[in-house]
Every structure is written in C-alpha cells, then in structure tokens.
Symmetry: C2
Amino acid sequence: MAATIKDVARLSGFSVTTVSRALNGHSDVSEETRKKIMEAAQALNYVPNRVAQQLVTKRANAIGLYSLDRETFQNQFITLMIAGMMDEVTIHDFNLLLFATQRLQTAEEMIMQCRQRGIGGAIISGVRLDEAWLGDLPKVDFPLVVVDVPVQGPRATYVSVDNVLGAQKAIDHLVSLGHRQIGMINGHSGAWVSHQRLAGYQQAVRAHGLPWKESYVFEGDFSKESGRKGAEHLLKVNPELTALFVASDLMAVGALEQLQAMGYAVPEQISVVGFDDQDFAIHVSPPLTTIRQEMYTFGRLAARELIQMIGDPSYIPQHVDLPCTLVPRGSTGPVGRTRGCSS
Amino acid sequence: MAATIKDVARLSGFSVTTVSRALNGHSDVSEETRKKIMEAAQALNYVPNRVAQQLVTKRANAIGLYSLDRETFQNQFITLMIAGMMDEVTIHDFNLLLFATQRLQTAEEMIMQCRQRGIGGAIISGVRLDEAWLGDLPKVDFPLVVVDVPVQGPRATYVSVDNVLGAQKAIDHLVSLGHRQIGMINGHSGAWVSHQRLAGYQQAVRAHGLPWKESYVFEGDFSKESGRKGAEHLLKVNPELTALFVASDLMAVGALEQLQAMGYAVPEQISVVGFDDQDFAIHVSPPLTTIRQEMYTFGRLAARELIQMIGDPSYIPQHVDLPCTLVPRGSTGPVGRTRGCSS
DNA sequence: CTGTTAGCGCTTTCAT
DNA sequence: ATGAAAGCGCTAACAG
C-alpha cells in the first residue's frame, strides 16, 4: 500500500542503508545523494513506518495518560490538562495514549502495559494516597509524572500547584474583606491536595490570629452534595461563621445552594471561596470567587518533564510547582453587611 | 530487559513458532504443550511485544481521536465522549491515541499520520462544514467515524443525536407550557448541528401553527457572549417573545444572564431551553431546562462502530443516531405569569 | 502436532 | 561516501 524505504531505494538507485541515513539526516551522505533520495521519497509520498522504526530503535515516542479517577476525569479539569499535553506532545512529535484503567493493581502491571506498547513514560492522574502501589512508584525504572501526589525518584516526579499557598491566598482574601470566623469544607483525605489545602488554611488562620475550632473544618468528598452538607453542618454548629473556604468549586456550588436555601445571602452574610476555577464557576450566581489552577499549563509541563526524562536517562526529574491565583468574583464581599433579600 | 518469545521457547523447549501458536490460542497445539508453554511464559513474566506483532500482522489495534476544534474540546462534552471511547476501546483491547491537530490540511495527511503509527481508524470531532477536505472523507479507504457531520461512505460513517428531533422536543415542551412566540438563538452555520436544530425548530413551529418571523432567529456562534447578544437582540426586536430556544447550554447561560440583566424574570416572563446538558446547566440559576445528549454513549458507540469497521473490511458502517431527551428544569415555566421580583 | 524458513520495515554494525 | 548483512520480536506459510 504505502511506499516503503525499499521503494525509495529502488527509485533513487541507492541502497536501503543510504536512504535510511539520508532521511535521518546523518552526516555521512553526500549532499547530492541526499537530494536525489529526498526527491524520490517525495515522489513516492514516502513516510517512514513508525512501528518498524520503533521495533528496531526501541525508542518510544509516545507517552501514556492514566486517569484513575473517573469522577475527576469528567470535568474540565482534565480536559484542559489533556489539551496541554497534546500540544506539548505534538511539538516533540510524540504520541499521546489514553488509558481507562479504573484501578491499577500494581505499578508493574502498568509499566508492562506501557512497555509492551512502546510507550516511553506515563502521566498518572487521580491517584489516591491509600493506593497500595503508591510507594513503589519512586523506585520504578520507568519515567513517570504523577499529578497532585508527591512522588520523587530517579525516574519519577510530580506536578502540582502550591495548594498550601492557594489556600492561604483564599484566607488572605477573606481576611482582607474583614472576615475572622472562617470555616472550611475540605475534600476527602484520600487526596493529597486535601491535606495541603487544610495545611494552608490552618497556617493562614494562625498567621492572622483568627479564632479557630476543630469544628470549623468539615471533611467532604469533592462532591456537590458534600458541599451542601458541609455548609449546613458548619453553620448549624458555628453560626458565627461569616465565610467559607471550600476546597473545590463543585463543593462550593453545593455550599452556595445550601446557604441560599437556608436563607443566607451570599456574599452579604456569608462569603464563599472555591478552588479550581472550573468552567461553571463563573456561571453560578453569584459568580464564584475561587483559586484558579492553570490546568493547560499543568498538562504541558507534565508532558514536557516526562518527554525530557524519556529522552535523557540521566536527567534528574524536577518537581513542577505551578502558581495558582485568586480570582475574585461575586461570592465574596466585605463582612458585616445587613441581611439582603433572599429569593 | 523484558522476556521475548525466544526466551519462552528456550525455557519451554519448543520452537518459537509453537510458542506463538500456543500463546495465540491456535487449535493445532496439544494441550500438554500449551500448558508447558503457558507455564514458561508465566515464569518469565512474558508479555508479547505489541510493536513487533503489529509490524508483522499489520493489525492496528488502535484508534485515533482527532479533535479539530479546541473550543469544543474544552468542555465536558468531549470529556464524556472520551470516557466512553476509552471504555469501549479497552473492551476490545485497543489503544486510543489523541491528536491535537488544530487544522488538518487534507484527509490524506491524516490517514498518512495514522497508517504510519499503526492506527486502524479514526474518530474526527469538530469538523466544520466549510472544511475543504470534508468531501473527500466518504471516498477515503480508511475507517472513519465523524462526529456531528453527516458523512457516509464504504469506510466512513458518522454519529450524532437526532438534532431535528431534539429541537422539536424543546419547542413541544415550550408549547405545552403555553408559549406561542418562541425565538431561537442558533449556533454558527459552520456546524451541521446548527442547520439541524434550526430545521427542527422551524418544523415544530409550523406543526404547532405558531406565529413566526425571520427575525425570531438569531445566529450566534456557540459562545456565551453570542447568547447574550442574541437574547438582547431578539427581545429588543420582538418584545412579544415569551420563550427562547437556544442551541447550546453555553449560549443559553449567556441569554439567561442577559435577560436577567434586562430585568426579565426567568421563567416567569421568559422561558429558556438550552441544548447539550452540560455540567454547569444544573448549577446556573434558574437551573437550565435543556436537551440532553448522552455523550458517554456517543463515545462508546463511535468507538464500537469504528472498531467493527477495522476488524471487518466488508462491514458496512452504520450511522449511529442517538436519542436525546428533554430535561425540564427551572428555566422554563408556564407562559403569562406576572412579573416576579428580580433580585 | 511441531519445526524450518521467510519476512514485516527499518536501523545499524562492519566492510569497502 | 556507500552497501551488504544482520537482526529487532513476532507471525505465517509450508513441510514433515
């Protein structure tokens, strides 16, 4: 069907070897020969067969993306990350493969799957801290970039935003608006980011000398429903709260709805800050103040780091720490206004 | 590094051929031999090298996804579709590759890219009607499934929901609530679905004998901003309108905001129906009544059809027409209520 | 039932 | 500077 290197050799009158070298830009081919070969290749519309190349070179110009968490996958979060990965991968003439594996049994299993398919490295997203094989990741002899879980090894690293700082920015913002009683709805403890965001919240609370109780923190699970529950619980137990820092936009929307259902005006009586800056954050009412993560950049840098590792076995992988920024919108406002007209 | 078929042959004491046959489940291998070979393979932790397999069999256990439209890519729409594709692909032990190509020059170019990488077929999403190479797609000798553009050929087909029916459902719903003056904000004409949704709207309007003018239809571009403009324009020109059918959720949200900014109460004064049922549709206020597309199923069926085509060259590809359903929410209500208190 | 031989399309020593 | 030969890991006739 498609032209092979043999066809090019035949047409140009050179050997397969020389054609290969010419096409791959080796220096030991005369300019004239190269030109002729190029022409022949052009005429035949020749493109090298990557599969054959791969078999002999063992070079794996492909990376895999494992998305272990179906819920997280189904939001814009991952879409932007994929877009970033695609763009970066394209630059390096790599391929991007997607894997659906809901649950990885072992790290070995994944690496096997990759090796078998000529994949040089993988990005893993949605890993929970309680995953049994998590501890194996750093030791593994296969280029790995993990999303949002700190993994460091000779061939493994991770990307994340500075979640501690993000949480602090949220609290700083609220404090600057005069809030002092600030509750938090966190994600589940299986996510590393939950711990980080909590740490940031606590540090900021302490730094500002705010009053604080154990009961100011509610552990949700990133679902909208848990945001709802969190808001209800927190305000029932701590009616003095004037602001809520919520560890994800989806939960924040749940909280927003619950607060409004309870008759609180947002932001007049309660301010809410989310995390992520997802698609819908700007569409809810009031528009959600949130901490924005640059997911596109996230994807690009994750891919870049991985490709770097694949290309250079001696390269020491670097943890990528992205900035995150506060996006002030309508769900936060100065403390202490009077009650607005709800409904 | 990894064990090859030769290692298995050596350990088991059989020839490479026999090992290959045993492992591939051919019938001409004695049970005893197979057992021994299996054991040896197990012991060596052997997994066949797909790249080598591919080179010789020319079997391409992989499909590609081309997402030509970056905007569409960045929403939940495509994420769910990808999730569906991943699941389907996994069942068939295929791989899924993603391509970022923003703009394809020719169909040939794409096919070349695929063939070169051992990809047996592709799903193409985000094709505009004015794409020059669109007409080539049906003729192409490469399995293709196009999303939301009617393409039919011996090796090409498409998946879509019945957009005409979807639009009709939207109008029927509004009519059942008593609306008779119904405007429409459409997407841009580069999208096939725009034409279909318009057709459905017009048919329904005619079927119900509703009053209609040219000026009842506004051509947007699927952006939120165009939804805003559409709402403003339509109601300025046609103040008698009591409902708007909007060809995408994003535009619908824009329309919602604009209407509210103009002092209209939704749904008390104006009802709005969107299309897609995206993530945020349920989060806006009021929650958006919309026409739901089952994108996960969409992805699964697209992949299934494609894999079918790849596996059987004589298979005549079938157009997949998915149902779409009306999801009634808060943005639609009976016509003719008095003006509510807008904030 | 099993092994021998060839070859997929390409790169890479090693000669010349 | 160019070519012959070998081989990547695997499958597929074709014999026996």
